[in-house]
């Protein structure tokens, strides 16, 4: 440390900042536990991930589900590389997410004021939870399609017509009530990508199609056998948190 000058101002400032931080921490309920001695362990203890519930739609109405499936089918169309977003289960993923804490905005600050036109770092500025945003925007989308495409809902449109509507939404052209067409487009696009690449236990990424597409090995955490062979392809297939077909003999 010989060559370094110590600046008394900075150290005082650091001291004040750290005191303030300590006061902040001290005033909130501490959730951390103090451990001493051995790490606690109990036989059979586990906190497994909660898989998406099987069965029909939980949050979406049948009409909403059809519309969302029609959207994700165009955002990720089936081609030689992968099945469509619909066939990969992205709509199921979104349905389960909207029925859970994400849909209810349980981890977002949801008190006013909500100010339009703020910079992105101010976060979402809608009083609606994601689940409510879908409900409101899908209603607007349905009305928009019925008045512009001869009474047809979005799901009944031809693929090219759907692409046109989506492209317009991306630019924010259709006027939606309550939640704008452009933020809704961004929301669905974001959730569709999440559904395509999240672990299959959450309802999307069926048969790990998203991971196979990009060569992601899934829930693995040991690459010691491969780290010195960077020029060779990685051969192990992707694995979900709940396994893969190869765990059963003959599969």
């Amino acid at each position: 440390m010989a060559g370094h000058k110590t600046d008394p101002m900075i150290s005082r400032r650091a001291l004040l900042a750290s005191t303030a931080a300590a006061a902040l921490v001290g005033s909130t309920q501490a959730k951390a536990r103090f451990l001493s001695g051995e790490v606690p362990w109990a036989p059979g203890a586990a906190t497994p991930p909660e898989p998406a519930l099987p069965g029909g739609w939980i949050y979406f109405t049948p009409d909403e589900a059809r519309a969302v499936e029609a959207i994700v089918e165009r955002l990720i169309p089936a081609d030689e590389l992968s099945p469509s977003g619909k066939d990969a289960g992205c709509a199921v993923f979104i349905d389960r997410q909207l029925a859970g804490p994400y849909g209810g905005a349980e981890r977002l600050y949801m008190k006013p004021p909500f100010v339009a036109g703020t910079a992105p770092e101010f976060g979402p500025q809608s009083p609606l939870s994601p689940a409510q945003q879908y409900r409101v925007a899908l209603k607007s989308l349905d009305a928009y399609c019925r008045s512009n495409f001869g009474g047809k809902g979005f799901a009944e449109l031809a693929p090219e017509e759907r692409d046109k509507v989506l492209a317009a939404m991306e630019k924010g052209e259709p006027k939606f009530d309550g939640f704008g067409s452009r933020p809704f487009f961004n929301l669905v696009l974001q959730n569709t990508m999440e559904g395509f690449f999240a672990d299959p236990i959450y309802g999307g990424n069926r048969d790990m199609v998203g991971w196979k597409l990009i060569g992601f090995p899934g829930a693995r955490y040991d690459y010691r056998d491969f780290i010195d062979h960077v020029t060779e392809p990685y051969t192990l297939p992707p694995v979900s948190l709940q396994g893969r077909a190869g765990w059963n003999p003959g599969r």
Binding site: W41, P43, A46, W247
Partner: protein, 416 residues
């Protein structure tokens, strides 16, 4: 407790000599008491005679036997519920002959078939130590034994069949160290209580001493010299390290053995541990079981097991099965992995386990439970794989076997 044990360790110099007759005057002197404390530690009395969350030595722990649960008695000097009213002769009779203070026969859950080898001098020292404990009033719950096992006189026949009383006799021509090891292993250490297989009536199979046993769904491996299922690949130093720290480069103690290391062997002197290891490496063991032909790597079950191993196990136990020395046990060449009985393997995969956390190795690394993601059939494939990969060879494990063992698992054997 721990302070008491470290006190024991601090007077090791005094406690070392097995046959010391220095302090027999009245059994109340410091030397005898501290020697008794060391011997009580070597005998691991506290492990069984303490209920979960209970006062040390106050009894009440349920010992799971194939015949029912037997609750350990209070051995603190409480006059009504403990050993307070017991004379030295009463205590020696219980330990050497399995006879209680009122002449009743004791269940061999008290390992008197082993303690019978302990010298009277040592037993009196243990009693002197127990007499210094705080008396705790604690009556053990009634045993859960069915008729006719609840009739203690039934034990007369058992003793006739399976019990040979008599203090340990040194073997001529063997070193003092070897004989000290034999005395500890066969007597106070009562290793055979778990490591010797039992017959249908719970007696030791005389031709298979220390050849490996099963209790409460834990496999106690063969302590013979077999390379595959025994201690053949372990050096004397490996054994000493295991008993002293709960680990060595190949394995880690968990389950009931973790208790033994935690409460008992980690507090023993290096000389005593080396004596035990010397004896274990040199004794003439039962003939090694014949190694089966390993299951072929191309077998679909082996392929499934490999996939499960790669995805769930290799991060710690390494794809080569060699583990990480002193942290994650090696499965390659492991005796417990290749034991005939897969109880420990099923238990450890289903429930997880934790290595003993000792003074020398205080971390106590744990293995998580896998029952939430692996079916019994998948556990069976995995076990068949690890028993037959990397040069290992052992009988495949069926899904049925896993299901049966899984159904019997209790969480009574949590690592301390």
């Amino acid at each position: 407790m721990k302070r008491a044990l470290s006190l024991a360790a601090s007077v090791l110099g005094l406690a070392l000599a097995g046959g010391s007759t220095a302090a027999l005057a009245d059994g109340q002197d410091y030397v005898t008491i501290t020697r008794g404390q060391y011997l009580a530690t070597a005998g691991d009395c506290v492990s069984c005679h303490t209920a979960p969350g209970g006062k040390p030595f106050a009894g009440g722990r349920g010992i799971m036997t194939p015949f029912g649960v037997i609750y350990t008695p209070n051995i603190t000097p409480d006059r009504e519920t403990g050993l307070g009213a017991w004379s030295n002769d009463d205590f020696v009779a219980a330990m050497q002959h399995g006879v209680g203070k009122d002449g009743e026969l004791l269940y061999p859950a008290l390992p008197y078939p082993y303690y019978t080898k302990v010298t009277r001098t040592d037993l009196v020292a243990i009693k002197a130590y127990l007499d210094t404990l705080d008396p705790v009033r604690n009556e053990a719950p009634p045993n859960g034994l069915p008729f006719p096992l609840n009739i203690r006189t039934a034990l007369m026949g058992w003793n006739m069949l399976f019990f040979t009383p008599g203090e340990f006799q040194p073997v001529a021509g063997k070193s003092d160290e070897w004989n000290r090891g034999a005395y500890l292993v066969e007597g106070l250490g009562h290793c055979g209580a778990c490591h010797t297989p039992k017959n249908a009536l719970g007696g030791d199979k005389g031709d298979k001493v220390l050849a490996g046993g099963v209790l409460d769904e834990w496999t106690a491996p063969n302590l013979g010299g077999d390379l595959r299922t025994g201690l053949g690949a372990w050096s004397t130093e490996d054994i000493v390290q295991y008993l002293k720290t709960g680990r060595n480069a190949k394995s880690a103690a968990s389950g009931p053995m973790a208790e033994v290391v935690y409460y008992s062997t980690q507090h023993m002197t290096d000389a005593d541990l080396k004596a035990m290891a010397t004896y274990l490496k040199d004794r003439a063991g039962a003939p090694a079981p014949v190694a089966p032909q390993p299951v072929a790597a191309t077998d679909p079950v082996m392929q499934a097991g490999l996939a499960i191993y790669q995805d769930n196990c290799s991060a710690c136990h390494v794809s080569s099965g060699e583990g990480i020395a002193r942290l994650f046990p090696a499965l390659k060449g492991s005796a417990v992995v290749q034991a005939d009985e897969p109880e420990t393997l099923v238990r450890v995969v289903v429930q997880g386990t934790r290595a003993a956390a000792t003074r020398a190795a205080p971390t106590g690394p744990g293995m998580p439970a896998f029952d939430w993601k692996l079916s019994d059939a998948q556990v069976a494939s995995l076990l068949t794989y690890i028993r037959n990969a990397w040069g290992n060879a052992a009988a495949p494990v069926s899904a049925d076997t896993v299901k049966k063992i899984h159904g019997r698992l209790t969480d009574t054997a949590a690592t301390p």
